[in-house]
Symmetry: C2
Subunit: 145 residues, 2 copies
DNA sequence: ATTTCTGCAAAACCTTTGCAAGCCG
DNA sequence: CGGCTTGCAAAGGTTTTGCAGAAAT
């Protein structure tokens, strides 16, 4: 029987080879921590968990590798980060189309999206105020490159 | 004929009275700028526009009033800001339930949401990678308060 | 008259960067 | 080895905070 650990390691090694990045101890542990922990950790939380196994790792390395993994499609951001907060008038009935490459945001009307979730209450008693949909992909311009 | 300006001002005054906040010149101009400009400005961009009409306004005031307006439901954040980046394993097929009060994030399976947008290409040639849905509302706990 | 708000400056965060030393292929 | 990666420390950018004076109710 192949251990979980060994299986993960070989998977991770292949994954790095595909992406053309070096297999370092730090990256391996960061990857394992993310798989094991689940949830939606911040870089600081990831740092804390990785540090349990590599006490000398630096926060900068965690940031660098989180970026690398996001660019490689191993990780993704829970809410897209545009460098600073962006606001709009509430009550505008539209959703957002966001280019994952150039980060541009444009609006899309709800009716253009077709079918939409409509539930007003979720299991556990959560009371829905609204659905915010981000359509994530490549804008016409970024597809060219 | 009542001018647009006058109409907006009375609307804004009522709005402040409802929310129990003072009607200041700064807030009035910030509100008008947001209505007129549209789009998804950052605080710096809002600051720049307001400063055209109130050259002495401070960036801190812009931030304070953006927050106030977000809390009052006049404005909303385009992508929810959790204080720092949050990441998760890519490829997990779920969406997010976010409490607008306590900012907690939990996962929800796509099948629990019911109907979903499915379009793979949008007008203008945008190529869809995925739909990211945030269900925004009040968690059971925050409804009590 | 009170309470709330503004502007300033400093502080607090979060994130990125430059570089010398170390590790991977 | 040669190039990529790490850890450190410093810098950069955004957002928040405390407070005295000004404005709103």
């Amino acid at each position: 029987m192949i251990s979980m650990q060994a299986e993960e390691q070989s998977t991770f090694r292949e994954l790095c080879e595909q992406r053309g990045i070096a297999v370092t101890h730090q990256r391996q542990v960061l990857y394992e921590v993310m798989r094991a922990a689940g949830g939606h950790p911040s870089p600081e939380e990831v740092y804390a968990r990785v540090r349990e196994r590599i006490p000398t790792i630096s926060l900068a390395t965690v940031y660098k590798n989180i970026h690398l993994f996001v660019e490689s499609g191993v990780l993704r951001e829970v809410s897209l980060h545009h460098g600073s907060v962006r606001v709009e008038m509430a009550g505008e009935q539209h959703h957002h189309v966001v280019c994952s490459r150039c980060k541009s945001i444009s609006d899309i009307e709800e009716r253009e999206l077709g079918p939409m979730p409509r539930r007003e209450r979720l299991a556990g008693g959560f009371l829905v105020e609204r659905y915010a949909i981000d359509v994530i992909g490549l804008c016409a311009n970024c597809q060219k490159n």
